[in-house]
């Protein structure tokens, strides 16, 4: 059986709870093992890097060492965690000086990080390890003509090529097409949502998110699918504020890609946290039809 060390990250405990619920449910239904890293800690995100890079990487490396002790590669759904953990890996491979500091710091708590583990995004795991065809076969329902804008954001495609194109990723597009949905042209698919700028330079971030929503609306999307709790939060929770400031009338549901996969698999919406979304998606229910059984 495929199995991964699960690193939910802080956001998935609270604001990104529906992401966490849907990832666990989808993996369980598809028979992919997820073992949560026991007592994991915050990865440090982009914040620690802005204050002290090496100390930040040491904090992040504790999680990598714990996963290594489980003998498993990591599955990290949050784009920020994903990038930070991968960056820690790269940095430790490149920089002998930092590696020494990090190793010495881990030693204090009887940890050693010797055999690097791979850090994977669940989208990558689902598409490349499980396979789109296998997922489609397992689905009881399909989205008949549901128009989805696939939003990848920054950190699962940049800074370093991993599993999809830097400028025009298609993993999610292919997945949703296989589930019967209609993926709309979405030129903003890798444009930044501003991330933490929403707290520090709100004006800038609101403008960025207005762009993303407008692009989705102009291209006829009924909803936006995301892969990151920060993007989801910015696009969903601030939509009312964006409407007010830019004189718009958006009412675009922002759902996690894993929630869509879960619905197609026939998992109950409450188990995927659909009832905790701030903007409901009535079209989802309407367009979710029982899949025709292939003859």
């Amino acid at each position: 059986m495929m199995e991964y060390a699960y690193y939910p990250g802080c956001s998935l405990e609270h604001t990104g709870k529906p992401y966490d619920m849907s990832i666990r449910e989808v993996f369980k239904t598809l028979g992919v093992g997820l073992r949560e890293i026991e007592d994991w800690n915050c990865c440090g995100a982009t914040m620690y890097m802005s204050v002290d890079k090496v100390v930040g990487f040491a904090v992040s490396a504790r999680n990598l060492a714990l996963a290594q002790n489980m003998g498993l590669d990591i599955c990290a759904p949050c784009s920020s965690c994903y990038t930070t953990l991968r960056k820690t890996n790269r940095h430790m491979a490149w920089n002998l000086h930092s590696r020494k500091i990090i190793q010495e710091s881990l030693k204090v708590v009887n940890l050693a990080y010797e055999k690097p583990v791979e850090v994977r995004h669940p989208l990558d795991i689902l598409v490349n390890d499980v396979g789109i065809e296998n997922i489609a076969t397992a689905c009881h329902y399909e989205f008949q003509g549901l128009r989805i804008a696939p939003y990848y954001g920054c950190m699962i495609v940049r800074p370093v090529y991993h599993f999809d194109d830097l400028d025009d990723p298609e993993t999610m597009d292919n997945l949703f097409n296989a589930l019967g949905a209609e993926v709309v042209n979405y030129p903003d698919k890798v444009r930044c949502c501003g991330g933490m700028l929403m707290t520090t330079f709100e004006e800038v971030a609101l403008n960025l998110n207005n762009h993303l929503l407008k692009c989705a609306q102009d291209n006829g999307a009924e909803l936006i699918a995301t892969v990151c709790p920060l993007c989801q939060m910015n696009l969903e929770a601030y939509q009312a504020q964006i409407n007010k400031r830019f004189h718009q009338n958006y009412h675009i549901p922002i759902v996690y890609f894993s929630q869509l996969v879960g619905l197609a698999l026939g998992i109950a919406p409450e188990k995927l946290g659909m009832n905790t979304m701030l903007i409901e998606a009535p079209n989802l229910k309407l367009k979710l039809k029982e899949a025709r059984v292939a003859v």
Binding site: V109, C154, R158, L197, L208, H211
Partner: protein
């Protein structure tokens, strides 16, 4: 007769800052590629927030090479960078622009160059103290702590959807600490110590 070239000596302060800057980026592979910048402006063109910056990413490199590091450290630009890495993947000279921005942020903080209530600094500090306290990031506490420090008026503006999130169970009102919080603190303390002592 050809005019003789006048070499303007770099000020002592600028020299010190530059030394500290190279120190910050010495750990970045290809960090010195900043020298190879061809001033094409691809970074600025790719940046989704450059229109809000007082100096653009391209200008940042130009100013650095002209010996105006202090001016860069006083800019808004380095703090507006949202770390989306668009510039980095498109730079034809292979300059790790985003990582340079992080290095500049760290240098500015180290030199205490930022307004006292400066948002990014306040947020970073609140974030880090959260990790030291709980091992994880407690979003509600972080938001309150940050807004009180940087922008109290926003606390009320965000209260609307904040309440909706609490009702939907998507914001916890009390923090939970990880079990081995002592381990996390020990790692941070040791790493800090090794960094200051120099290994």
């Amino acid at each position: 007769m050809a005019k003789s070239i006048v070499v303007i000596p770099v000020k002592k302060r600028e020299e010190e800052l530059r030394a500290a800057f190279w120190e910050q980026i010495k750990g970045i592979p290809r960090g010195d590629k900043i020298q190879n910048c061809i001033q094409c402006g691809t970074c600025t063109g790719s940046c989704p927030v450059s229109y809000m910056m007082d100096i653009t990413p391209r200008e940042t490199v130009a100013l650095f090479r002209a010996g105006h590091l202090e001016e860069i450290l006083h800019s808004r630009a380095i703090w507006i960078c949202a770390s989306c890495y668009s510039c980095r993947v498109r730079c034809p000279s292979g300059i790790l622009v985003t990582d340079l921005m992080y290095a500049l942020k760290r240098l500015a903080m180290q030199q205490n160059i930022y307004p006292p209530k400066f948002p990014v600094y306040a947020l970073s500090r609140a974030f880090i103290s959260n990790i030291y306290k709980y091992g994880r990031n407690f979003e509600m506490g972080l938001a309150i702590k940050y807004f009180l420090k940087a922008a109290p008026q926003k606390l009320f503006a965000s209260a609307g959807f904040g309440l909706a999130m609490v009702r939907k169970g998507r914001i916890s009102v009390k923090p939970t600490s990880i079990k081995k919080i002592k381990d996390v603190r020990a790692i941070i303390d040791r790493a800090n110590q090794l960094e200051t002592e120099g290994v």
